[in-house]
């Protein structure tokens, strides 16, 4: 059995080494908040953090993630849904269908780790996830709400 450190816990799983991290999370570890959207790192629905770095897990072979690297998924973003971004997302009713929002939140959370008060250009660059419902303007507004309170 191979091992991963996910959301602060050591988890064992059984998958071929070239299996993308996404599918190990979803199918072996029952962490289905991380979504499949395109399978080729274009849409960002599968975004997780690996040692704090936003990573598209659909193209990352699980064998390339070391047992000591810390994987954080949407389920681990905060223990009780109270990350500043989650609160701002709720305040502005950001999600529509919601399917892309795990990836949006994880991309935004990584941005805030790198830059606590991002400007529009930073947001433009960091949030290149696809949303078909069209929540982009509220995503931007929620990031600002979370970081500047306005």
């Amino acid at each position: 059995m191979a091992k991963l450190n996910v959301n602060g816990r050591e988890r064992e799983f059984d998958a071929e080494p070239d299996t993308p991290l996404l599918w190990v999370l979803r199918e072996q570890l029952d962490l289905t908040g991380t979504k499949y959207g395109c399978g080729v790192a274009l849409c960002g629905a599968c975004t997780v953090h690996i040692d704090g770095v936003p990573t598209r897990s659909c193209v990352r072979p699980v064998s390339s993630v070391g047992p000591n690297e810390k994987v954080v998924t949407i389920e681990g973003l905060s223990p009780d849904g109270t990350h500043a971004l989650q609160k701002a997302w709720a305040a502005l009713d950001v999600p529509q269908c919601g399917y892309c929002q795990s990836g949006m939140l994880m991309a935004a959370a990584a941005l805030l780790e790198a830059k606590p008060v991002p400007n529009d250009a930073d947001i433009d660059q960091a949030i290149n996830n696809i949303c078909r419902c069209g929540t982009y303007n509220r995503v931007r507004a929620a990031i600002k709400l979370a970081t500047t309170g306005a």
């Binding site: 979504k35 399978g39 269908c97 919601g98 078909r132 069209g134």
Partner: protein, 725 residues
């Protein structure tokens, strides 16, 4: 007769109202009196309202939630009449099987055509009002007072004269045993306290933590997963596959033919099924369309632009004669491509089949059509089937279809007792859509010496969705839905411009690529054709684009009001900021009036930047203004993604696009600021999920013309350079 219906009883009956937009639904034709009525569960006050002893209010929702917010909006309408405590409201979906067993007590489940609220508001509000009346009556009975002496607010019933109070939870069981009143009076929307307010959605919290399960996330004990490949050529078939080549791959349980055109691999995990399928040698019988290309389809449509025969959608006076006699004529040909829905969550369904029962868990926009597909594919009678609707990761019309459900049931039928989850790849989704129909349009206008339009002929040539999906709804061969936004009258979409001699007709040309209802449907291209051409006339005759539209809309006050609202907000009477240019568009569709003004700039090297869009919507009644604003914002992303980057093309019978690199969509960094003006004028109910999409593209295209002098007449924009010489 019972509800055990054969397939023939299901097809043919459809609720497609004139001009309506049913998304492929089948209804049982059994007489209502003959249908069995299953007993109601004891804890429900009526079909729409269940009150728990702890005062929790469960509101039943028949339409599907796919992001558009109607789950919350419909609950607001019921709660408004119910006078319940909004903080205690939750929702649940009745199953389509229960609906059938209970004589369709929840009505239509179909969720498309922006009809979720407007076509159920009446009976869901009545449902709330009836439940309230019964709850109050139950309290009055207990106190032995007249119901009229009792008042109610926030789930608390009060009899002021005797100082007594009780709550809904305490009297719900007694209320459920009462005979429902047959007549109730609905509130005047002006007095609404829950409906009409910008309340937060009921379904947000689990979408922020990963807790929310979509269809693709479903897990059942003993479940296997399946991946599928359908013949990439429309109308083609599966000839053969070499299962031995993938024998022994880890986790693989079965390789099977699905229908006559697809092959699937079932494995213990989806990733193993998918990779095994990738390795499976498959031979296709590509059939008659093996050489089909986009050029063939364009030629087929081009012929229709001047064809003699065409279905008439709107005619007054003699447009041809007026144009022929005019001293000046303007003509232009436009086109709009196929588009894919590309929902973020790929198609999926989980099915479990035994000879005794077939159950399906799937995200669907039409629970009843999903049930009908399940019945047919399972070979079991209706009473042995049901569908459990899952939250949709996007719908946009695609999930009104049932193709993937039939596949899932067919696979499960081959593995009795084992639940199988079928998940499509993104590539399968791109190549097996029900695409936005392809059309071309030739517009000809006659102008008098003063630049007034004396005649207008709009000839649409192209595909009919209704002919492909709901042929029983054609009217002597004519597809009424083709003319969305162009109709002479009716609630659905009236052509607002007064033009003395008008002819709008449709030469139906149906290429062998299956069309579907794509968010906004035919209003999308119709708005581009009309609104860009009106803009052409304005510029050709030296008229202000706003002034010309206002003049032509003199007798269409609601059309004009939304146009005026955007013009005022953008500051049309003042010049745009340096380097920016504006474009306007308006249309009526899905029974609502919408307009937009876009402000763009185009750099010397041809880079388009959309700075600001103002959009106005008059939906008659606005159930949740902030969710309407969200729909308006989202509509620009959907409409502009299609117009700027979309387009599905064919080569060698295959869809050329495979994923988001070849079917790109708008991203956050390109998104303009959107100011939504929600201006309900009352007296009617219009949809809000779709109409704004239609004005997104023409407003931007007209602004691009203002900026560059380039008139983009065929889309997507990505095929054109805006580089300045």
């Amino acid at each position: 007769m019972s509800i055990l219906l054969d397939r023939r009883s299901f097809i043919g009956g459809s609720t497609l109202a004139a001009g309506g937009l049913a998304v492929g639904i089948w209804l049982p034709l059994a007489g209502r009196a003959e249908a069995q009525t299953a007993p109601a569960p004891p804890d429900e006050v009526n079909a729409w309202v269940v009150i728990k002893p702890d005062d929790t209010v469960v509101i039943r929702i028949a339409r599907s939630e796919m992001g558009q917010g109607s789950l919350t909006g419909l609950a607001q309408l019921v709660a408004e009449e119910l006078e319940c405590d909004w903080a205690r409201v939750t929702t649940e979906y009745p199953t389509p099987g229960t609906n059938l067993a209970r004589n369709r007590v929840w009505g239509n489940f179909s969720t498309g055509g922006s009809r979720g609220i407007r076509e159920s508001q009446d009976y869901v509000r009545k449902g709330g009002a009836i439940a309230r009346t019964m709850l109050v009556q139950a309290a009055a009975n207990e106190w032995n007072v007249a119901a009229a002496e009792c008042t109610v607010a926030d789930s608390v019933i009060t009899h002021a004269a005797s100082g007594r109070k009780t709550t809904y939870g305490k009297v719900a069981a007694a209320a459920a045993r009462l005979t429902p009143p047959t007549e109730v009076t609905l509130k005047d929307p002006k007095t609404w306290k829950i409906a009409g307010k910008p309340l937060k959605r009921l379904d947000t919290a689990p979408k922020l933590t990963g807790e929310q399960r979509y269809g693709i996330d479903l897990k059942l004990p003993g479940m296997l997963s399946a991946a599928i490949k359908d013949c990439p050529v429309a109308g083609g078939k599966l000839k053969s596959y070499d299962a031995a080549a993938i024998q022994g791959r880890p986790g693989v349980k079965k390789v099977l033919r699905v229908g006559d055109s697809a092959v699937a691999v079932v494995a213990d995990t989806w990733w193993r099924a998918k990779t095994a399928l990738d390795a499976l040698p498959v031979v296709w019988d590509e059939g008659a369309n093996a050489k089909l290309s986009s050029a063939d389809i364009a030629a087929m449509l081009k012929e229709g632009l001047d064809a003699k025969e065409a279905f008439v959608g709107n005619e007054s006076g003699d447009a041809r004669a007026a144009i022929a006699a005019a001293p000046r004529r303007i003509e232009a040909v436009y086109s709009y491509p196929f588009q894919n829905h590309a929902t973020m969550e790929p198609m999926n369904a989980t099915a479990r089949w035994t000879p005794e029962r077939c159950e399906v868990w799937t995200p669907t926009q039409n629970g009843e059509a999903a049930l009908a597909a399940t019945i047919e594919a399972s070979g079991l009678p209706a009473a042995k089937c049901d569908v459990y609707k899952q939250l949709l990761g996007g719908g946009f019309g695609r999930r009104g279809q049932t193709d993937w459900i039939r596949q899932a049931v067919a696979i499960a039928r081959d593995m009795p007792g084992t639940p199988v989850k079928l998940v499509w790849t993104r590539e399968e989704d791109m190549q097996h859509g029900f695409y936005h129909p392809i059309t071309q349009c030739k517009l000809s206008a006659g102008l008098d010496a003063q630049g007034n339009i004396t005649g207008l002929h709009m000839r649409i040539s192209g595909q009919s969705i209704v002919a492909a999906l709901l042929p029983q709804n054609l009217q002597n061969g004519r597809d009424p839905v083709t003319f969305q936004g162009l109709n002479p009258g009716g609630a659905e979409g009236v052509f607002g411009y007064a033009i003395p001699n008008l002819l709008i007709d449709h030469a139906m040309r149906n290429p062998p690529v299956r069309p579907g209802f794509w968010r906004g449907v035919n209003l999308n291209q119709n708005a581009i054709y009309v609104e860009c051409f009106i803009d052409e006339i304005a510029h050709a005759t030296g008229q202000d684009p706003l002034a010309l539209r206002r003049k032509l809309l003199a007798k269409s006050p609601k059309h004009r009001a939304v146009l005026d609202a955007v013009a005022e907000r953008i500051g049309w009477d003042q010049p745009a900021p340096q380097g920016r240019f504006r474009g306007l568009a308006q249309i009526m569709g899905f029974a609502s009036y919408v307009a937009a003004c876009a402000e763009v700039s185009v750099s010397k090297d041809g880079k388009l930047r959309m700075h600001r869009i103002v959009a106005a919507t008059d939906p008659g009644h606005a159930v949740n203004p902030q969710q309407i604003a969200a729909q308006v914002e989202g509509s620009f992303v959907y409409g502009l993604s299609g117009a700027l980057y979309g387009g599905i093309t064919l080569k060698d019978g295959r869809v050329e696009q495979t994923n988001f690199h070849t079917y790109p969509v708008l991203l956050l960094d390109e998104m303009p600021a959107v100011e939504a003006i929600v201006m309900p004028s009352g007296g009617f109910w219009g949809g809000v999920g779709e109409p704004t999409i239609a004005v997104a593209a023409p407003a931007v295209l007209n602004a691009i013309y203002a900026a560059t002098g380039r008139r983009i007449r065929d889309l997507p924009l990505k095929n054109h350079s805006l580089k300045q010489a």
